[in-house]
Symmetry: C2
Subunit: 327 residues, 2 copies
């Protein structure tokens, strides 16, 4: 099985490539070849599987056609610019997040001759915009309030329609906010959800800009990779024509995040969280989904790696910190 990952240099793409390298298979099928694409050079994972690294832009139509011409069996489409950048640079957002997706699916269609790869499109809870119910169900309508969310919603629609027409075998999965996101603190409005766990565990002080009653929807990077693997290998006949699914996650308040950190790491760690309310961030976050009912995904076999937010913290300590942290 030949696997193509678009956006393989990103956090989730890199972890997915590493996991596939480690497992050596996707579902029950051996991985015999991997192609890792990104606009910056992807890292070569440690594996005996033949890996090709490709540095190109998803809006380079010829380059995308060339990637698809090798007829990968499964394509993970993770390439996108993030919410904040898509909002700030309108043209770039539509070009990469919408046209890039169109180039991919049209390149697949152009191959013809019965070529019908599994395409896993990573969507986002940004397809939902306030006001919405406390728990967003599987049939709540898409009302994106950002260009990024609009582009992801359109991607979902295209994946469903191309699938319905038999041009590919697609599935769109809406990832929760990934927590704990490794690496440096970023300036995304959502950054604090990860920062308040990651930085204290690294012995650093961190600012909490919102009140502790802010509720949000989380999944660990390990869960995100698990969702992708399942989407890449599951029997898609069970899905039916509605090919976009909200993924399972954990709904917790910031206060519950901190209490979990306290249980897992102790008061000396949570003491590094400094409360500095920021009205702008508080306002942005107020428009974000807080909780979901993801019955369809659960029924289709998508599961999280964590049962509690304590687990999310432990996964971070295991996967990113080699099992230890700064007490």
């Amino acid at each position: 099985m030949h696997i193509l990952i678009l956006g393989a240099a990103g956090m989730v793409g890199r972890k997915l490539a590493e996991r596939l390298s480690r497992d050596g298979r996707l579902g029950k099928t051996d991985v015999t070849r991997m192609t890792l694409q990104d606009v910056v050079a992807p890292a070569k994972p440690n594996t005996s599987i033949p890996v090709e690294l490709v540095t190109c832009d998803v809006v380079d139509q010829a380059a995308v056609a060339k990637l698809v011409a090798a007829k990968p069996d499964v394509i993970f489409h993770l390439a996108a610019i993030v919410s904040g950048e898509a909002e700030a640079d309108f043209d770039k957002g539509y070009r990469i997040n919408l046209e890039g997706t169109q180039y991919l699916i049209d390149a697949i269609r152009a191959i013809g001759g019965g070529y019908k790869p599994r395409v896993v499109f990573t969507s986002s809870i940004a397809v939902f915009g306030a006001p919405f119910p406390d728990k967003i169900g599987d049939e709540f309508f898409n009302t994106p309030l950002t260009s990024y969310g609009t582009q992801k919603t359109i991607g979902e629609l295209l994946i469903s329609d191309y699938t319905r027409k038999g041009l590919l075998d697609g599935i769109s999965i809406r990832l929760p906010t990934i927590c704990v996101r490794p690496g440096l603190p970023n300036k995304a409005a959502s950054g604090f959800f990860s920062n308040i766990i990651r930085e204290p565990l690294a012995g650093k002080e961190v600012v909490l800009p919102v009140s502790e009653d802010v509720r949000h929807w989380h999944a660990s990077p390990r869960s995100a990779v698990g969702f992708l693997l399942h989407a890449g290998s599951m029997d898609t006949n069970a899905i039916g024509p509605r090919r976009a699914l909200s993924m399972p996650g954990l709904s917790v308040t910031v206060g519950e995040q901190i209490a979990a950190l306290d249980r897992v790491a102790g008061k000396s760690v949570t003491a590094r969280i400094k409360r500095v309310p920021d009205q702008t961030i508080t306002g942005i976050v107020a428009g974000w989904p807080r909780d979901f009912v993801t019955e369809r995904a659960l029924k289709l076999g998508f599961t999280t790696a964590e049962k509690t937010f304590d687990d999310i913290i432990r996964i971070h300590i295991e996967d990113e910190l080699g099992g230890s942290f700064v007490t």
Copy 2:
């Protein structure tokens, strides 16, 4: 006020141009100029208002840019290929129904300098696909099961996002099935809803291919024009960011349609309906919406011209048959 109608040679476009010509104004503002575009030459309405007729394709990007360069105040975007054709010709459907819409809104954006026209996008109940509730509410999710429905849903999303970014002042209205559609019987699967009224009134026999308990969602051509006029002149601030609205209509069964025809025109007319069940059409129609709750549209002042299906028949007799029919 300068009004541009894209798709002005179509049934609804023609009626809209005629109504604007007759009224001489849109809302409270005088119409001082009209530009009527279609891929086939639009008819010149009988009016003293200066009218420009433009024959061009909506996927002729330069031609669309030229139409927009005149900075019309209100743009009615009715240009589209219909459901059956978009399904049969995948490329043409995406080109005209999606790219054509993108060319329009990008041409508007390219003008800049504060140019922000009202854009009324005609969408469709085809944004919904079965299974759905008996009555589809304002928050039910979009699950198109045709390429046409997919393209209309994407159009709605783009109109909302461009509006949110202040690039235009858009509104998408989802028209019910238009009944009674004048002209020749067409071969669209939905054709019989109009055929069974129009043909008997013209003294002709007609085939009813489904059972009388089939329920569907209708509005007269007069109502459709009324929705467009209201969308073109209303205060859009009241809508909020969710710029797509299901329009009001009437939910009736085929049996109720025939009973209404009986009341309005008599048994000699309904005797011209021949029941010849067609399993293919019955199957297609089974996946169509049957009824809606359109609270948002009603609250925003959208109203139908008819209270009963009897009214729909009377409107057809008045507007298309000069007040009489073949008894």
